[in-house]
Amino acid sequence: MRVFLAITLLILGASSALAASEADFKAAYASAEAAEKEAGTLRNQWLPTETALAAAKKAAASGDFDAATAQAKEAEALAKASIFQATSEKERWKDMEIH
């Protein structure tokens, strides 16, 4: 899991060097939205994900696709984290249960 994260950070770092275009933003926003939708089916969305999605949309509307893409990527990371939380808690909750 940690290796996977390291690789994504690398890719993220490399691509953000170039100015993000509207197409980059649209792709990033779409995958963020998909991840958030999945978190929704798991009934485990986070508020910061929604704020990041809204910020991405706002930045895109004002034409600042760099910021918009960064926010969309942030939203996707948050949505993925909330999905990870839901799946990992599926059994782990029992550890805390009073016996």
């Binding site: 009934r43 485990n44 969305q45 986070w46 508020l47 910061p48 994900t49 929604e50 948050l78 984290a81 909330s82 939380q85 808690e89 782990r92 909750w93 029992k94 805390m96 249960e97 009073i98 016996h99």
Partner: protein
């Protein structure tokens, strides 16, 4: 009188507890009776100086300075207006002439301690708030918001008529009822939100501790005082409103009020508090 009251509580609890038989599932048994006993023993052991029925007073059973401020508020409580409004609404007939009393056993008086209950026809948990809105719809009236004043006033009045009666939640011997109970328990212990807290982190592991100005309430009897007037909201709050705000405090997106998860959560939390007195409506920080 106090001693007799406490003994009465214990007896009522034991009868209620022994009612529901455990369900053996493929993987592990779901045993509400054992759960409730372990749940209560945990809090009694963790807070030996707190009397059993005092847990329903939440933060005020945990801190003297807070309790003094509560006792001052209770002299003339801020929920007084909601209580009067609820009493008035309860008696005001719908357009078709019926009133809420026609929807509820015993005219809705002194029955709050039996809610939520498991509706075996529907196979779902029915809470007091859901039942009230269903009563409105059955009589051609629009449902009211679950998180706003009208619902809080109605439930405040119904809770008031049950004050002192021990919580008495039943789990019928029906696999779906045990599943609803288990869903509620799982929700209670599942970490959620960016802060990664479960209800249990605050209300089981650290009741009595401070969260800035607030003192965390113990989970035992945590719904017995509902609905509550919170100074924080400068107004009344239903169980629905409390669940929604708790979720957003951990930065989780709240679910729809009265969604299955919340109703099952209320079912679980009420069941494990069986035997403790209803003390609603309550005043809280």
């Amino acid at each position: 009188m106090k001693a007799r009251f406490a003994i009465g509580l214990v007896l009522a609890a034991l009868t209620a507890l022994s009612m529901s038989a455990p369900l053996t599932r493929a993987t592990e048994t779901v045993d509400p009776v054992a759960d409730a006993k372990a749940f209560r023993d945990y809090f009694v052991k963790k807070f030996p100086k707190v009397k059993l029925e005092d847990f329903v007073n939440g933060p005020y059973s945990m801190n003297e300075d807070m309790r003094k401020q509560w006792e001052e508020k209770e002299e003339f409580p801020p929920y007084e207006f909601a209580l009067d409004a609820g009493k008035e609404m309860f008696a005001k007939p719908f357009k078709n002439g019926k009133t809420y009393a026609d929807c509820f056993p015993n005219g809705g008086i002194g029955i709050r301690q039996n809610y939520p209950y498991f509706d075996e026809k529907e196979g779902k948990v029915v809470t007091l708030e859901l039942a009230l809105n269903r009563c409105r719809e059955a009589n051609g009236e629009a449902p009211v918001s679950y998180v706003k004043d009208d619902m809080a006033s109605l439930t405040a009045y119904m809770a008031f008529t049950s004050r002192g009666k021990p919580m008495d939640i039943k789990i019928p011997n029906d696999r779906r009822a045990l599943e609803a109970y288990e869903n509620g328990k799982r929700y209670f212990y599942t970490r959620r939100g960016q802060l990664n807290f479960a209800c249990a982190n605050c209300h089981v592991q650290s009741p009595g501790e401070r969260l800035r100005a607030e003192i965390l309430a113990p989970a035992l009897g945590i719904l017995n005082a509902m609905p509550i007037y919170r100074s924080e909201w400068a107004g009344m709050g239903t169980i629905s409103r409390r669940f929604v705000t708790c979720n957003s405090q951990t930065r989780a997106v709240p679910l729809e009020p009265q969604s299955d998860e919340y109703r099952d959560l209320e079912y679980y939390l009420s069941y494990v508090s069986n035997g403790l007195p209803i003390s609603g409506p309550g005043a809280r920080p």
